[in-house]
Symmetry: none
Subunit: 208 residues, 4 copies
């Protein structure tokens, strides 16, 4: 049986919705464990305590379940992190601390890391969802005059790329303070901050 990461509300739902949620939860878990391509429908349904045929009552194919699962997963992470950084007032700090928390979470709970890496190049929607998460923080920094750059989708994607790279490397080589720091600095430089200031800021925001 799968932990209910995301569907604790399931009790309030009808039977159909409950089964659907169970499948999504299970998919998140299995994809995280086995990777995107190796998550077979049989394994997903079994982990959910359901029969394989049940899958087809709710989804047309594996892809459709996967994109839903990825969306649910990232949305929940975003909510949690947003809460955790709500007291940071500096927009830039908010961006790099959030980013670092995403990475951090994935290193400690590879479940999420792998699903993010795995989904990154497979699901268009997923990239958009992820990128959007930092939009409000970026706009905050802009309003605070901390960056002169126009905030657009490409910039969001670029930041996400740096985050995904950091996750990917640390998943492979283990947690690494230098990588975290340099990733934060790189994000800041990408936002137009000069190297020296970027270094100071990153150090202070991440490690006090």
């Amino acid at each position: 049986m799968v932990d209910r990461y995301f569907s604790n509300k399931s009790l309030k739902l009808g039977k159909r919705e409950r089964t659907r949620s169970a499948l999504i939860d299970s998919a998140i878990k299995v994809i995280a464990e086995k990777g995107f391509e190796s998550a077979s429908i049989k394994e997903i349904t079994q982990a959910a305590g359901l029969a394989n045929g049940t899958f087809y009552n709710h989804f047309t194919d594996r892809e459709s379940l996967a994109s839903e699962a990825a969306g649910v997963a990232i949305f929940e992470i975003a909510l949690e992190i947003k809460e955790e950084v709500k007291d940071i007032e500096d927009g830039l700090d908010k961006v790099i601390v959030s980013s670092d928390k995403v990475v951090d979470r994935t290193i400690n709970a590879p479940t999420w890391g792998k699903i993010i890496i795995g989904a990154w190049h497979h699901l268009d929607d997923f990239q958009q969802d992820v990128a959007q998460i930092m939009r409000s923080d970026l706009n905050l920094a802009k309003r605070q005059g901390l960056t002169s750059l126009p905030i657009n989708k490409l910039l969001e994607y670029q930041i996400c790329s740096l985050i995904v790279l950091s996750i990917s490397l640390q998943l492979k080589n283990g947690r690494n303070k230098a990588t975290r720091l340099e990733t934060a600095e790189a994000i800041l430089r990408l936002l137009g901050i000069a190297p020296a200031e970027a270094k100071q800021r990153a150090q202070k925001a991440l490690f006090g």
Copy 2:
């Protein structure tokens, strides 16, 4: 039958080498079309006009062919681009023009773009190969005093991530001058260049 991207010299080679090259060419094409995971050995051999069993005379498994194919693909591109930018003397310009050419090439010949995107997260070696390509240019820029940053692997990977993102977006949405420009600017900012100068440099280096 597959175009001989990389083995035009095949006529000079022995039979064994010719077949081997044909398989690599075919693999490049099929991986580009179907993606990394979906490129079956049968399809690769069929596209090469060979029997499926022939594959195993030359490679132990799909992975080994794939990494070879990816390596060949990127190596050839790198060589060509290096030649094309040999007259640029400014290290930073060299980096962003090279990067832009990689992107440009993949947009015009999606075969290569897709294989790069596809291999990016699957083959460790591949990432290393790609990253290394810009090392000499980065070091040149460093020697020229154009960037104060230490040149290390992570920085190379970060630049590559931006390139891969640019490829990915333009493959999906079509060629886009703004994306090219902003990617070059982003690379420069990542290297510590101030936004305004980055903008000028990018504009000038890419579009004269």
Copy 3:
């Protein structure tokens, strides 16, 4: 389609059990025809009128089906023969008549003979099963004071070897009264009976 040697009761069984039985029946037949190593899963399933994939709903691999099939085959034969010799009171006679009946049956229904020969050297369990069948009769003979030898596994195996040899020869050269008789005599001598008495006993027990 395959005769239902062992699963005549199939009508009473659930669908799953019916299919499983069909596979075992089919395996028995195919192994008998083609030999142990050449009985492919495809052929077994086809002979059962099922799809090859169905096999894997019921067995993990070929070996597991084979050992089950062999076990079923020998168990059924043993039961029948036990019943047929239940009125023989002399332990030694019981042993050699049972043995002769096993051989006899395999000559008339080569299906069984070949499966026994085929499985003999491939499945450890199978040898143990077969050998055990005569244990009770041997112990009976011992209690009756008809043999002074200790009854142990090796002795059982030795008797089985003589039976398998007899089967093997008669499968090749056809039914042969002399071979049957001499096999019975050999078993008796193996059990310590003097040649002359062995001859008399064998003649009388087998042919009245």
Copy 4:
């Protein structure tokens, strides 16, 4: 490269015969290592330092090479053992000591044990060859009045079956003095010797 167990004379032979011998030697080795069914032609030829195609210049199929190899192997063993027991004058002792030596050799050099077990049920000729080996000793025992039984093929086969069983068990469970002794006793009883005398004889012949 393969040791030349049986074809040291190869130097005197023509090239064709030399290659043929090399294949037979190699087959013996590979069959012994991998078993009968798993000895692929590629492996046999490779172990002989030859190309796989070469096989077909000398043999029509795997079976034909195998039977030749088995024949060569057993013939050589028989010669050696015959020499080793040439000073034993008692026919029965000769039989059981020879038998024990065959078994012994296979336990110490599983190469031969496995090939004998492996070939036993696959090659008709092989069985005949093996059985014939003890014919002269059996006839000697008969002439010496040590057994009253008629010496025929079946009897030879029966003795061989007991030997093969002994090999098989000891290959699986390791060398075992009791098994050797009981096998010798069983052969003697099979030849009509009373259990008590069989016990004495076996003990004395095998272990002095």
